[in-house]
């Protein structure tokens, strides 16, 4: 692990139309690290991810990946730099079947998982590989959304609330998957409300409030900081 951050965000501001949502977000992620964003509903977690990707175009500040400025790049070029995005609403395509959904994202670099590996990891998907993508249940869709990024060889992954609406068993399985990804050296930026889940995988936490980073601490301090978190998150 080098000291130079892989992803470096400085003073990021972002707007939806006229409404100013991010007010100077700073964020660093080192290669191979898993970082989790915590924050209440509406704190700006999703917006941060969308602004990093460039889905949200109205932004100011600096975003660098391996020192390369991402701000000026069109969305598809950002992806080609090796960032995989798993959106909040999952984004499964109804007009493609499960296998086609899985095959859809173009490879951005070598070393993605093979289809067989993916089916071993997610047997449900194998079983339903020829059904229409959106006919899967919520949980199955979530797995599909993660799986299809793993195939592309993206080494940096932005995950937005992967456990939302999922059954405990599935959450557990997704947790296992993330641990496995960490082992393979992936860099993960995770947005999560469920910190029981997050604790299992996160190296570091960032705490967000009203479009700003208000705190950051290493993963093992989570339990110790529970009270503070209660205050910010209203748990």
């Amino acid at each position: 692990m080098s000291n130079q951050p892989l992803l470096e965000v400085r003073g990021l501001n972002a707007w939806y139309g006229e409404s100013h949502v991010l007010h100077g977000v700073d964020l660093d992620i080192r290669e191979g690290e898993t970082v989790t964003l915590l924050g209440r509903n509406g704190a700006g977690k999703t917006t941060t991810l969308r602004a990093i990707m460039g889905i949200l175009r109205r932004r100011q500040g600096t975003i660098r990946l391996r020192g390369k400025d991402l701000l000026g790049l069109p969305l598809h070029k950002v992806a080609q730099e090796g960032i995989g995005y798993v959106p909040e609403e999952r984004g499964i395509f109804a007009s493609l079947n499960v296998a086609e959904n899985l095959m859809l994202p173009p490879n951005v670099s070598q070393g993605g998982m093979s289809i067989d590996e993916i089916y071993t990891l997610f047997p449900n998907l194998h079983e339903r590989r020829s059904s229409q993508g959106t006919k899967l249940s919520g949980g199955e869709q979530q797995m599909l959304a993660i799986a299809r990024i793993l195939r592309t060889g993206a080494r940096t992954i932005l995950l937005d609330e992967p456990t939302e609406g999922l059954a405990p068993v599935i959450i557990q399985r997704i947790g296992d998957v993330l641990v496995e990804l960490k082992k393979r050296g992936m860099t993960i930026l995770l947005v999560e409300q469920n910190f029981r889940f997050a604790k299992k995988v996160a190296d570091r936490f960032y705490l967000m409030e009203d479009g700003r980073m208000v705190n950051s601490f290493p993963g093992h301090e989570l339990d110790a900081r529970m009270d503070e978190l209660h205050e910010v998150l209203g748990v």
Binding site: R40, N41, G42, N124, R128, S131, K135, L136, S137, G138, G139, E140, Q142, E164, G165, L166, A167, P168, V169, I170, I171, Q172, Q193, L233, G234, V235
Partner: protein, 252 residues
């Protein structure tokens, strides 16, 4: 007022999607005045069961009866008119109407003030008292004149419940009412559900097991389209099959 009289019962409910059986031979009965939970892993078929019960889908096989009437052949709007009203997994309000108007829209039908195209708008003001009462019941009085789109997620769900209550339904079907909700809202909605369930029946889908344990009189567990277990929370959560298929090993 927990009775043992079923208000809604489904027998042999089966739903096939082009060869894929999403719901298989489900027989379910919900007793009048209870809060009944439907839980199960993702893809178990919970939302599908809801869609079948409220006729947004037509079952491949099986019968549904509500308060003694066979409703298997009815249309969704007709089911709602009989007093079986649902919410959606994705929040459903009328975003550009005010909170008050959202509730008034729901009140218009039971008060027979919906088809009069010759009456002025002001004739709707007779509904205001009742509407404000309902809004108050869900703690939204302070927001009555905001448009629904300006509400936070949790308040939107509260509004949705208020509009549903406006119909004074005998039975409510709630699909994941707490999903995506912040912690502070969860408690509020749970209270609200408990309150409205005083004199009606509730069937809800929910993944938050604390809420289920806390709120529900009875739990039906669905897995792979079939009923896996049925009974009180304590009974089902002790069932090893349920633990394996749903709760996982971590849950106490």
């Amino acid at each position: 007022m927990v009775s043992t009289q079923p208000i809604l019962s489904a027998t042999g409910l089966t739903m096939e999607f082009r060869g894929f059986v999403a719901v298989k031979d489900v027989t379910l009965s919900v007793n009048e005045g209870t809060i009944h939970a439907l839980i199960g892993p993702n893809g178990a078929g919970k939302t599908t069961v809801f869609n079948l019960l409220t006729k947004f889908l037509t079952p491949t096989r099986g019968q549904i009866s509500f308060r003694g009437n066979d409703i298997t052949g009815l249309k969704p709007a007709e089911v709602a008119r009989l007093g079986l009203v649902r919410s959606f997994q994705i929040s459903a309000v009328f975003p550009h109407l005010t909170v008050l108007d959202n509730v008034r829209v729901a009140l218009q039908r039971p008060k027979n003030l919906a088809t009069q195209f010759w009456l002025p708008f002001s004739s709707l003001s007779v509904l205001d008292d009742r509407a404000l009462e309902l809004i108050d019941a869900v703690n939204l009085s302070a927001y009555a004149h905001l448009t629904a789109s300006e509400l936070s997620y949790g308040r939107k769900r509260a509004l949705e419940i208020a509009t549903t209550l406006a119909l004074d339904p005998a039975m409510l079907l709630l699909d994941e009412p707490m999903a995506g909700m912040g912690h502070e809202d969860i408690g509020r909605i749970a209270d609200l559900i408990r309150r409205v369930a005083k004199n009606r029946t509730v069937l809800m889908v929910e993944h938050n097991l604390n809420v289920v344990a806390d709120l529900c009189d009875r739990v039906t567990v669905l897995a792979r389209g079939e009923i896996l277990s049925d009974g009180s929370y304590a009974t089902v959560s002790a069932d090893p099959r349920v633990r394996e298929a749903y709760m996982g090993t971590e849950h106490e």
